[in-house]
């Protein structure tokens, strides 16, 4: 269990950090033509706090669990080997961990797995765009899997909440100031998710469908927020220890996320100029042909 949590967090951490690096290149390319982008900078700040948060969580979890650093090496080693070369003992040692302090639980794994596909899809689309591809896919109409998303989200939230309450009740949670940045991030990420959802809903009718890129982003933020909330549950129940490095990263993530929301709201209200004001192609306003005399 812990290994799976470690692995998914490692991948997500790498993806978000890579995304931050891609955005730095984006910002650098556009700076001389369109000037500084608050939006880009805020997004970079978020990517560079979100990515390291997942990486730190993975390493912290791996090193704190039984076996410590061995567990991390073992995990990476197993992933790198062909499946035939993995001995049953190694597999059991790596994935068959208990639920003691410092080990990942099913809830932690579940919430990471829910956000995982959306995060990776968005990342892959951005990589595609960077390589000159479309960077998006269009879903015509509202297929069943899209229509099911609200119901699935509700079920997911209810299940996660019940599981979290169960964990807290069993362990006798002790809430402290060290957990607050994660709750603030839950709040801010849900707000960003709301902005994204609002835009996707508004775009649906004129587009006649959905943007996969938009849907992925809309899913990423609230699920990321829920991951932080579950982290708090595990930490409050004594299962995870909040390390100083993790706390520093999370407290850096809070102003980064607030900065991002400030930029988005300012752009909505037109009080900040950004790349949305830069036009990239000339358009010719075609009017009625004149009846010219010869």
């Amino acid at each position: 269990m812990t290994t799976a949590v470690v692995l998914t967090n490692l991948i997500l951490g790498a993806v978000y950090t890579s995304y931050g690096i891609m955005t730095i290149f984006d910002l650098k390319r556009g700076w001389k033509h369109f000037g500084f982008s608050h939006f880009g900078m805020a997004w970079i700040a978020m990517a560079f706090t979100c990515g390291p948060h997942h990486l730190e969580h993975a390493f912290h979890l791996a090193s704190a669990s039984r076996g410590g650093l061995f567990h991390v090496v073992s995990t990476i080693g197993m992933v790198c080997r062909p499946i035939s070369a993995v001995s049953p003992a190694h597999f059991a040692l790596t994935f068959g961990r208990g639920n003691g302090p410092g080990s990942g639980g099913p809830l932690d794994l579940a919430v990471v797995l829910v956000g995982f596909p959306a995060g990776v899809i968005w990342f892959l689309l951005r990589v595609e765009a960077l390589r000159g591809g479309r960077g998006d896919r269009f879903v015509s109409g509202t297929p069943k899997w899209v229509a099911a998303l609200p119901v699935l989200s509700a079920v997911y939230l209810v299940a996660a909440t019940i599981a979290a309450i169960g964990i807290l009740m069993r362990s006798g949670a002790a809430f402290g100031p060290r957990y607050t940045p994660n709750l603030l991030l839950l709040l801010v990420y849900c707000l960003i998710g709301y902005y994204l959802l609002r835009t996707q809903l508004a775009n649906r009718e004129p587009m006649g469908g959905w943007s996969v890129s938009g849907l992925a982003l809309t899913v990423v933020f609230p699920t990321c927020g829920v991951m932080h909330a579950v982290f708090v549950v595990f930490a409050a129940s004594g299962r995870y220890d909040v390390g100083t490095l993790g706390l520093v990263i999370d407290w850096l993530a809070v102003p980064a996320a607030i900065y991002f929301v400030w930029v988005v709201r300012s752009l909505y209200h037109g009080t900040v100029d950004d790349w949305n004001q830069a036009t990239t192609g000339a358009t010719t306003d075609v009017s009625a042909a004149p009846a010219l005399v010869a």
Binding site: T23, D26, L27, R29, G30, H33, F39, W43, R126, A129, G132, G135, D136, F175, G176, P177, R178, Y179, T180, P181, L183, L184, L187, I192, L196, R198, T199, A202, S213, L217, T244, L247, W251, V254, P255, I258, V261, W262, V264, L267, Y268, H269, T271, V272, D274, W275, N276, A278, T279, T280, T284, V286, S287, A288, A289, P290, A291, L292, V293, A294
Partner: protein, 577 residues
């Protein structure tokens, strides 16, 4: 509402400081070891209440005139200070200082009422905290009452001083700014003289009309500076301002605002620095002191050169248009009369008469069409449809048509097989026809008319040349003016309404192209039109373009930043008005 711009800035800065402080304090609290009980509760409250609320105020503060940012910020600060006072009684001195700063800041930004309310709330909360905290941590009432009274007094005093100063400054600035703005922006010259006709003040329009800087105007005699004449007589200022007498302007009492609206002006003129006669419309008004003595005379002078030129152009146009219309009408009338009264004419003669009527009618139609097009351009009702067009067949057709109609040889040179440009086909036909007509008309000796077309990397250049009478530089400068003709009415040899080149210039500009004139008297004239060229891209070119686009973030859409903006619904580029 903030009372002035600086207050709005203060609110914005305060919101940023508050948000930063909230995050910093909350973060610090979470790093402290062994935080338990009330301390832990305080830091949790600060994290989960103060940080979100401070962020909300931060977002609101960017919207001009946000009441939430103005009043909500101090209220949140008050609540936070109260929470600190209750949960950390040891910090009560610091909290009292915080209250003081908070109320004074509110007095500056939100005004007296808000600050007074806050001061009262401070007193109430401080008293209330005494019922919550343990006895040793309570504040003495004797400390609270003078503190609050001092706070209120400070608020009232600060508010009064700020308001008085702001009111006086604003009034003074408003009057001064208004006066300066009026004088600076008004199109008429405003020249103020003393009773002895020495200039005391002159606005920028006055400097332009006189043609001298302010330093060479102020202090000098009015007659030397302006040198106004009426008819051929110089106006004499020695016995008072003649404009006052001529215009019979009403006098206004000193101290009251001048009202010269509707007063008649006197048409005068002066010799400009460049030696031309400068027509002016002038009037004057005297300013009296309370005893009825004249202290100042305010002159208002308007340069009516362009008005006079427009009048002359209109007169000229009426004369030329009438002449242009009358010539074909006379022919039509004559042949119609002949056909009517001489029915026995042979068929060939009748046929020639009908052909003459037909060709002259066509001529009339052309003149009327030109006049209509000109008036539509003037009214801004002509638009062009920009598209990709091949100019080569258009040129060949128009050159052929002109040669056939006039019997003149027109040389056409073009070394390429296609002239793809961005333009409007109908507009280009009109432009080419006018230029060819012009070239034929102004080369009466039968000099060669030539049309050349070539292209560079970016543009297609079209040249229409004649070996006619040509123009001098001044004529070149005015040749695109409406109703302008190179020769005056007295010596006109070529006819025309003077609007052809105006139409050409207007249409070329509307297509985003450019027209230049090269001319020399008695040698000839060449009109050069430069149109944007359509570039065909080869594979290599495409790669180059792609690279160029990729080098511009945003041009190589979609970039990550722009894509995220799109998905989160950030409004796209605002359209320029």
């Amino acid at each position: 509402m903030p009372r002035q711009a600086s207050d709005a800035t203060a609110v914005r800065v305060a919101a940023r400081v508050r948000a930063a402080a909230a995050v910093l304090v909350a973060a610090t609290g979470s790093f402290l070891p062994d935080v338990h009980g009330r301390q832990a509760a305080l830091f949790i409250v600060l994290s989960l209440v103060w940080v979100p609320l401070a962020s909300t105020v931060l977002f609101a503060a960017d919207r001009p005139g946000s009441r939430f940012a103005l009043y909500g910020g101090p209220v949140i600060d008050l609540a936070v200070l109260f929470a600190v006072q209750v949960l950390l009684p040891d910090s009560r001195e610091a909290v009292l200082l915080g209250y003081l700063v908070l109320v004074l800041f509110a007095a500056y930004t939100a005004g007296r009422s808000a600050a007074t309310l806050l001061a009262v709330a401070v007193m109430a909360l401080t008293v209330a905290s005494n019922t919550i905290v343990d006895a040793p941590d309570r504040l003495g009432v004797t400390a609270i009452v003078p503190f609050t009274a001092a706070l209120l007094a400070l608020v009232l005093l600060q508010e009064r001083l700020v308001r008085q100063e702001a009111r006086a400054t604003a009034k003074s600035q408003r009057l001064e700014g208004k006066s300066e703005a009026i004088l600076a922006r008004v199109a008429d010259a405003v020249i103020v003289t003393d009773p002895a006709s020495h200039v005391m003040q002159c606005n920028p329009a006055g400097e332009r009309i006189v043609g001298r800087p302010n330093a060479e105007i102020v202090g000098h005699a009015c007659v030397d500076v302006l040198g106004l004449r009426k008819g051929e007589r110089a106006l004499d200022c020695s016995k008072g301002c003649p404009l006052l007498q001529d215009a019979a302007l009403p006098e206004v009492a000193g101290g009251s605002p001048l009202d010269i609206q509707g007063t008649p002006g006197v048409e005068v003129w002066r010799m400009a620095a460049d030696g031309r006669r400068q027509p002016l419309l002038a009037n004057a008004s005297s300013v009296l002191d309370p005893d009825g003595n004249v202290v100042e005379i305010v002159h208002s002078i308007r340069d009516i050169t362009s008005l006079k030129q427009a009048e002359e152009a209109k007169t000229l146009f009426l004369a030329t248009a009438s002449h242009e219309l009358k010539t074909p009408l006379t022919v039509i009338n004559g042949f119609a009369h002949t056909l009517l009264h001489y029915p026995d004419l042979d068929d060939a003669t009748q046929q020639r008469a009908l052909e003459a009527i037909g060709s002259r009618s066509l001529e009339l139609t052309k003149i009327v069409d030109r006049l209509l097009l000109s008036s539509r351009i003037e009214a801004g009702r002509v638009s062009v449809r920009l598209d990709r067009i091949d100019l080569l067949p258009v040129l060949e057709e128009r050159v052929h048509t002109l040669a056939k109609a006039t019997g003149r040889e027109v040389l056409f040179r073009c070394d390429v097989t296609a002239l793809d440009v961005i333009g409007d086909r109908d507009a280009m036909v009109t432009v080419i026809d006018h230029l060819l007509d012009n070239a034929v008309k102004y080369s009466p000796e039968g000099g060669a008319v030539a049309v050349d077309a070539d292209m560079t990397d970016d543009v297609v250049q079209l040249r229409v040349s004649d070996q006619g009478i040509g123009m001098d530089p001044e004529q070149v400068a005015h040749c695109f003016d409406k109703f302008w003709q190179a020769e005056s009415t007295d010596v006109r040899r070529f006819g025309g309404t003077g609007i052809g080149l105006y139409i050409v210039h207007s249409l070329v500009e509307a297509m985003g192209a450019r027209i230049d004139v090269l001319s020399k008297p008695a040698v000839g004239t060449t009109f050069v039109i430069s149109l944007p060229r359509v570039v065909e891209l080869t594979d290599g070119d495409n790669a180059e373009v792609d690279d160029a686009a990729a080098s511009v973030a945003g041009a190589g859409e979609p970039t990550s930043i722009r894509e995220f903006m799109r998905q989160i619904g950030v409004p796209a580029a605002r359209k320029e008005a």
